[in-house]
């Protein structure tokens, strides 16, 4: 077995492209992927094969054929990662894709084991940021929602929601800020309770109802379930009961049911 030599650090020109794209999209995605903005001075990581061999596929997927095998002791450079596949380049310049299970059996140049970040149930409990989309029923109308959340601790998080409401008689949008409490955040099926306030804007459809656009304040309570699926992926279902503080004599009560999916990072 050839002794792993020192870490060879190569700069890469293709990262410039990534950096530009990252800048563009970072504005829209906010902190969706904090790692991308640091692409300016990227160096390639080198690992040594510790398994009897490393299988290189022609594409990042199980079905793509194996076209090259790297022997134990040889080194490969990691060019990039897509889902749980790694694109590597051998000393002879051959490029191919290796899955995460095999990459975890490689060694760093100093002989230590390589650790690859893999989102787990623990990250589901402790991740700081979360974003997702949900759709459902809002008092008989359809609702499509997008939200972003930040965890103050594993139990308590703050969420900002934006929703579009699409009904037969009126359309509208709603924005709200929520406090969410998870009683058992370490559970795969994690129930939560939520409390929030916001603003709802309603515009009646002119063809059916003669009415004016209204903007009212809303308050709500709710409960739901976060279900860890895999990697950074979770399903979410929730019920919220809204009180719309109208300028009329009576407040309006609206019930909402939604399901959707989200990511944490």
């Amino acid at each position: 077995m050839s002794e792993p030599s020192t870490t060879i650090i190569l700069s890469t020109s293709r990262s410039n492209l990534s950096a530009w794209c990252a800048c563009l999209v970072a504005l829209t995605l906010l902190a969706f992927a904090p790692g991308h903005a640091e692409a300016a001075d990227k160096v390639l990581r080198k690992v040594a094969v510790a398994d009897p061999y490393l299988e290189m596929h022609t594409g990042p997927g199980r079905g793509y054929p194996i076209f090259n095998v790297v022997d134990r002791g040889d080194q490969v450079e990691i060019l990039m990662q897509r889902t749980n596949w790694y694109q590597v380049r051998t000393d002879r310049g051959i490029e191919g894709w290796v899955d995460q299970a095999q990459m975890e059996l490689t060694l760093n140049p100093d002989g230590s084991e390589v650790e690859f970040a893999r989102a787990t149930l623990e990250d589901f409990t402790n991740a700081k940021w979360e974003t997702g989309i949900l759709a459902g029923d809002f008092g008989g109308a359809n609702i499509v929602s997008l939200y972003g959340g930040y965890s103050l601790n594993p139990h308590v998080s703050i969420e900002v929601w934006g929703s579009q409401i699409l009904g037969n008689f009126s359309n509208g949008w709603m924005g709200s800020v929520n406090v969410v409490h998870e009683t058992w955040p370490e559970w795969r099926f994690s129930p939560f309770f939520t409390l929030g306030a916001g603003v709802i804007h309603t515009s009646p459809k002119s063809t059916i109802i003669q009415g004016e656009d209204r903007t009212d304040q809303v308050g709500h309570v709710g409960a739901g379930l976060r279900i860890y699926a895999s990697r950074r992926f979770l399903f979410r279902a929730e019920y919220k009961s809204y009180v719309v503080f109208t300028s009329r004599d009576e407040n309006e009560e609206v019930e909402e049911w939604k399901v959707g999916f989200a990511f944490f990072f």
């Binding site: 990227k42 997927g61 897509r82």
Partner: protein, 224 residues
């Protein structure tokens, strides 16, 4: 009597010394333990004076996002076909699943009634805009071959999602589904062909009905 005191004194001493045994090294009196015998002659003992280098592992470039533009033709039910274009961003969760947000725009042509009536428009704002949030699955990943020496990775995917369509001064809840083909020119650049059906309810022509609005587009996307 004297011997009894002596015995008592000795017992006390033994107890105290055993109690002090743990602290004997504090006073340097416990050095009677011989150092390990250095049988090897000096010079053979390897003393690795290696300074550990702080190697900061470079982060691996993750390319799970896909962003791109597309253009094509959209057929708006009752309003003919016109050009459509838009943008999309996708996140690849696994090698199979991806989520995608799309925003697009098209123009409504004239209905038969509007053509025959000679200029009377049903409504003024003829622009249709939509957005949707989708879940896709690369159901048939594969390779295509160009000539003898070139192979390109491809995905045939199914996709469906929810969103909203703004058309004729009205927002409508919209369901869309379809299929597409992703042709990866390089590992980071792809050409995409996409076919979707956008379903939303419409009462523009009097009676409320569910409309099917078919769209076929070609686009370029980039992974980052």
């Amino acid at each position: 009597m004297e011997s009894r005191f002596r015995v008592l004194f000795l017992i006390t001493c033994v107890i105290m010394l055993s109690g002090c045994a743990a602290t004997k090294n504090l006073f340097g009196i416990g050095d009677d333990e011989a150092p390990p015998p250095s049988s090897a002659p000096p010079g053979e003992v390897v003393d690795p004076q290696v300074e550990r280098r702080e190697i900061k592992e470079p982060a691996i470039d993750r390319e799970d996002f896909e962003i791109g533009v597309f253009a094509g033709i959209m057929n708006i039910e009752d309003f003919g076909s016109d050009a459509s274009y838009g943008v999309r961003i996708a996140y690849h969760v696994t090698e199979g699943f991806f989520v995608e947000a799309t925003a697009g725009q098209s123009e409504a042509s004239l209905t038969s009634f509007e053509v025959l009536s000679g200029g009377a428009l049903l409504f003024e704002d003829r622009t249709l805009t939509y957005y949707n949030l989708n879940l896709g699955y690369n159901v048939l990943p594969g390779e295509v071959f160009v000539g003898e020496g070139r192979a390109y990775n491809t995905h045939f995917y199914l996709i469906a999602g929810l969103g909203s369509t703004n058309f004729a001064d009205d927002d409508r809840f919209t369901v869309n589904f379809g299929a597409g083909f992703r042709f990866l020119l390089t590992d980071s650049v792809a050409i995409r062909l996409d076919f979707r059906d956008h379903l939303f309810d419409s009462d523009i022509l009097g009676r409320e009905k569910t409309t099917h609005n078919l769209e076929g587009t070609i686009g370029v996307t980039m992974f980052f």
